[in-house]
């Protein structure tokens, strides 16, 4: 029997107080995610239980019990307090998937500061816009990533501390830099946890939109209620589980379920900090006897591509439950996983702004491969007409996914951008920006984004950001960025570029521009293909018609071109 039991029964009797009671939380009490993920588990008598098993790319391993998680995160908190970091200051974690990232996350929250996780592959341009928007006070990073921060230091007068977690004692530190050796730092047994309340800010994740700069999604400590219960009911976390969430905590899955959901449920989780290879992943599952595996369609399709033979080399029989997130999981991947692992990957649908799983396939429920599943109990979700913003009266119609606001992990605002936040609501519904239909049995079926944002490998990339970066290259006159289909990543970035006089298209220029964007923004944002063209399709008023380029890439009907400039 799974943790959720009967979905239909849960729907009938659901109230978020179920999670509050399980966590011994009463409205008005203090609620601090850092405490719930470490101290509370120790108070439940599980201090000696393994919390985190970390493996690096060279096979090196580190292990932390829940008591070590508690003490070490106390040490992080103390270090930050001694530096003068105050509640609600923004502290960025800009690191690979190393223990300092997971434990640092809890330490920052314990002092009431706001964690700002940023993907460690971000380039300097991506960093500066996010750090500037958040007015970040301190950044934790590694030696290998520090040069990117040094490059933009002059533009960040607000940034007081760059905390290097693996500093080389034989080399001098740079301006504003300070070394912090987490494992060997003092670990206070008694530590004053900041008395955060339900609405105290906790995490600031950045996400991309079609236009404008990335938006800082503000979450609060009360999000724990959703993250704890969805991890328990959807990921079906059991006390005996060895859990592996493959997501990077630079993105929301890596924090909501790679840290908060896992530790608040007191499970043992494994982390592999290494690049992808099918052999390494299967070896990791076998070695650590992983039972619950939460991954992403891109990874699953990469495993499919690696073939079935490699699977036979490993004993994967410990796996008992699989789930997926980041982008729609195609039916072929569901069927393949059932064939090779004996159980299907269950798709889960949610986003940075929702903070936790919204629509999903539950353990024990009839799975329709390719479907997103049904709303989590307590979540009122539907599909609405894109013009009237009202639910359809029958099944099968494609419209906008709409969710009634009010669940615990709902974002509270976009950081310093309340106006954009308000635009996410229509007629009393929160609109995630995706389109789907609902069948006669209440299953949701994903159709696509409702905007131009590119979902590549489960990460959102703003075409606007890529176009802006392209325009900074000396050879580029104009650019338009769209998605193109890709077997592994679902879609990847493609750029159409016109060149300034004096520049000619060439393979070397193509590579130079690719690398230019990769270093400025991130590898995810790097166009995987650049097409040099004479002119971009524009409206008579001069607006670039991305729609036409997108349709061409996807083999779709171009539609109305009556406003095309050179029609």
């Amino acid at each position: 029997m799974s943790n959720i039991g009967s979905y239909d029964e849960r729907i009938k009797n659901f109230d978020w107080s179920i999670a509050e009671k399980e966590l011994d939380y009463q409205p008005g009490n203090n609620i601090n995610i850092g405490w719930y993920c470490s101290d509370r588990i120790c108070e439940l008598g599980k201090g000696k239980k393994q919390a985190l098993i970390w493996e690096g790319s060279q096979g090196q391993e580190k292990r932390y019990t829940y008591n070590e998680l508690r003490l070490t995160s106390n040490g992080v908190g103390q270090f930050l307090r001694d530096l003068g970091i105050k509640p609600e200051d923004r502290v960025c974690l800009f690191m690979d998937k190393i223990p300092e990232l997971y434990i640092g996350f809890l330490g920052v929250l314990k002092i009431g500061a706001i964690v700002q996780p940023l993907f460690s592959a971000f380039g300097d341009e991506s960093l500066i816009v996010r750090l500037d928007n958040a007015q970040t006070t301190a950044v934790f990073t590694q030696r290998k990533h520090a040069p990117k921060l040094r490059k933009i230091l002059d533009k960040m007068p607000f940034l007081k501390h760059i905390i290097i977690v693996d500093a080389d004692p034989s080399k001098p530190l740079g301006e504003r830099e300070i070394a912090f050796d987490m494992d060997n730092a003092s670990k206070p047994e008694k530590f004053h946890i900041h008395p955060t309340k339900a609405e105290s800010p906790s995490v600031l994740h950045y996400t991309s939109g079609t236009t404008g700069q990335p938006k800082g999604v503000k979450h609060v400590h009360y999000s724990l209620i959703s993250q704890y219960l969805t991890a328990k009911w959807v990921l079906d976390l059991l006390d005996s589980d060895i859990y592996w969430c493959t997501a990077d905590p630079g993105w929301v899955t890596g924090t909501s379920y790679g840290i908060i959901g896992a530790f608040s449920n007191g499970v043992t989780q494994c982390v592999l900090d290494a690049g992808f290879s099918a052999d390494n992943w299967y070896k990791f599952i076998e070695k650590h006897k992983v039972t619950m595996w939460y991954s992403a369609p891109t990874a699953i399709r990469s495993l499919m591509k690696a073939g079935d033979e490699v699977i036979k080399k490993y004993d994967l029989s410990t796996l008992r439950h699989l789930a997926s997130v980041g982008e729609p999981l195609n039916s072929e991947a569901v069927i393949w996983s059932e064939k090779v692992f004996g159980k299907p990957f269950l798709d889960t649908y949610w986003q940075t702004e929702t903070g936790s799983i919204m629509i999903t396939n539950f353990p024990g429920m009839k799975i329709k491969p390719g479907s997103m599943g049904k709303p989590f109990p307590g979540i009122t979700a539907t599909v609405i007409d894109a013009d009237k913003f009202e639910p359809f009266d029958g099944p099968g119609k494609v419209g906008l996914i709409a969710i009634k606001p009010g669940w615990p992990s709902m974002m509270r605002t976009y950081w310093r951008n309340e106006e954009t936040y308000q635009k996410k609501f229509k007629n009393g519904w929160y609109l995630p920006g995706d389109r789907s239909s609902i069948d006669s049995e209440g299953y949701f079926w994903f159709v696509g984004r409702d905007d131009d944002v590119i979902n590549t490998g489960g990460h959102l990339v703003s075409p606007f950001e890529v176009e802006s970066a392209l325009l900074e290259h000396p050879a580029v006159a104009e650019s338009a960025v769209v998605s193109k289909p890709d077997f592994v990543n679902m879609e990847v970035v493609k750029a159409f570029v016109t060149l300034k006089p004096g520049f000619e298209p060439s393979k070397d220029l193509d590579l130079e521009i690719m690398n230019f964007v990769r270093k400025k923004l991130s590898p995810l944002a790097m166009p995987q293909e650049i097409e040099f063209i004479e002119t971009l399709p524009k409206t008579r008023s001069g607006k670039i018609m991305r729609r036409i380029l997108h349709a061409k890439e996807w083999g779709e009907e171009i539609g109305d071109t009556s406003t095309l400039e050179n029609d």
Binding site: G275, G457, N515
Partner: protein, 78 residues
């Protein structure tokens, strides 16, 4: 060829003073991620005037300078 590829990897993908030898794991070691592999593949194709099919451009085949050079040699022979 090995030194050319190694130098390119260091210049393009390494931010600090991490040492990259001919056997350093590039993909599994997290130096070159799967998205950046596309630009590394493009470099090899441009430099050696070859075309590497996608099914040969696997994380395993790109996992060290030595492995990359073996792959490139397969196509430069033809």
């Amino acid at each position: 060829m090995k030194e050319i590829v190694r130098t390119y990897v260091v210049n393009e993908y390494v931010e600090d003073d991490t040492e990259v030898t001919f056997d350093t794991p590039l993909i599994s070691g997290g130096i070159v991620d799967s998205f950046s592999m596309v630009s590394l593949k493009r470099f090899l194709e441009n430099k050696y005037k070859i075309s590497i099919p996608d099914d040969k451009a696997t994380p395993e085949a790109f996992d060290s300078v030595n492995k990359i050079c073996m792959l490139v040699k397969e196509f430069t022979k033809e």
